[in-house]
Symmetry: C2
Subunit: 233 residues, 2 copies
């Protein structure tokens, strides 16, 4: 398996390249439109066919590279089953559905809370791509796109903190220079979750008073069209 | 072994935390002064004693966190043997010297070229911390601090490209969102090195026309005092 964590320094987004070297097939999770050239170069170097792009949710802080990648590679665009008002995707992935990539199994789990369509992806029981559901010592905000702190708490407890402690956590963003973590660490040291009740978590999330994401007005509509800027109304 | 890659978003610097979990001892390679709080928190969470800080070279783009970390933890500061005009270090590490951290062996190799004092650190034959000697699809510049492109070419060929192809490459910086690579990849796809003669490499490096690093005037003197800003003349 090839596993590469890639970073977009403008939106602090992590993109993941996962590939089966024998099958020569790859997927990209949460690609960023401004990094498509870099990602295509990496695919070409490894001599990989891009099979799918996969989103953890409809992002509010960057535009997906999915459409641009499909144009170049004929890959299929997969979005979470619960994503609404979506146009141009090739497939919606369901909760508990397993995407097979050669010998790699990628299991999608619906984890609403940051947004109502959020999903996490468990890769071969080795690691989990947590999107904005869980960050290293943090988590995604819950104040737009039908976010719900109670739901987020439940999603994390049920689908993330039930994984083995040594499962590697690869987040969708990091703003403090962390690259990854483990489930055990987040259970023990995530300041929003460790030894917090559901009510405490909700109270923390309801009092973050964060500014509106700078690019939300362009990102959400564009991402509802899988990043195809030519057709966004 | 705990292995964590940490990023400083201002200087695009990677810091590495390496620890033996049984011995509860850690080292930090290329810590950044503005990230010391984050690094100390991580050490505390893992219940690790910081044994040493280690520099790959005297940096021109950020100030080391070594002194601040020593103040807080009583760790020892190690600098490369060839670093000159250095004050306040605890130890100079020699070419081919092995630093032992519990069951982890960290082998220092002198790789002059980016600067005359540059070193790389091979960690347990598993990965190599390349500092500014080799980046993912790039390398450090050679136009100050006694840099020398011919020497850099020789250092890379002799000490990096002689390692097994699957050795993981963890660089000192990345400006394009790459986190790591392998020796085999860099041999094959590093545009400055793959299928390049020594003369071609020298010509590329001599024609980069890069601007002077913004913080060189404050960084180099501060780093010669191991980041102790109170005593920098």
């Amino acid at each position: 398996m090839i596993f590469r964590q890639l970073f977009d320094n403008e939106s602090f987004t992590y993109t993941y390249l996962i590939a089966d070297q024998q099958a020569k097939k790859a997927i990209l999770v949460d690609p960023v439109i401004t990094q498509v050239e870099r990602d295509l170069r990496l695919l070409a170097e490894f001599d990989l066919t891009l099979s799918h792009t996969l989103e953890t949710h409809i992002h509010a802080d960057h535009i997906t590279g999915a459409h641009a990648l499909r144009q170049q590679t004929n890959c299929k665009i997969i979005v979470p089953a619960n994503a609404t008002e979506i146009h141009g995707e090739d497939k919606k992935i369901q909760h508990a559905e397993v995407l097979k990539l050669g010998h790699i199994n990628i299991t999608a789990l619906a984890t609403p809370g940051h947004t109502d369509d959020s999903m996490i992806y468990v890769v071969n029981k080795h690691c989990v791509l947590t999107g904005d559901t869980l960050f290293v010592r943090g988590c995604g905000r819950t104040d737009f796109q039908h976010g719900d702190p109670g739901q987020l708490y439940d999603s994390i407890q049920m689908h993330l903190f039930s994984l083995p402690d040594d499962t590697l956590v690869y987040p969708g963003h990091d703003y403090n220079g962390h690259t990854h973590s483990t489930v055990g660490e987040e259970k023990q040291w995530n300041p929003r979750l460790a030894e917090r009740t559901r009510e405490e978590f909700i109270s923390i999330m309801e009092n973050l008073n964060l500014p509106t994401p700078k690019k939300i007005k362009e990102s959400v509509p564009a991402n509802r069209y899988c990043g195809n800027l030519d057709v966004v109304p």
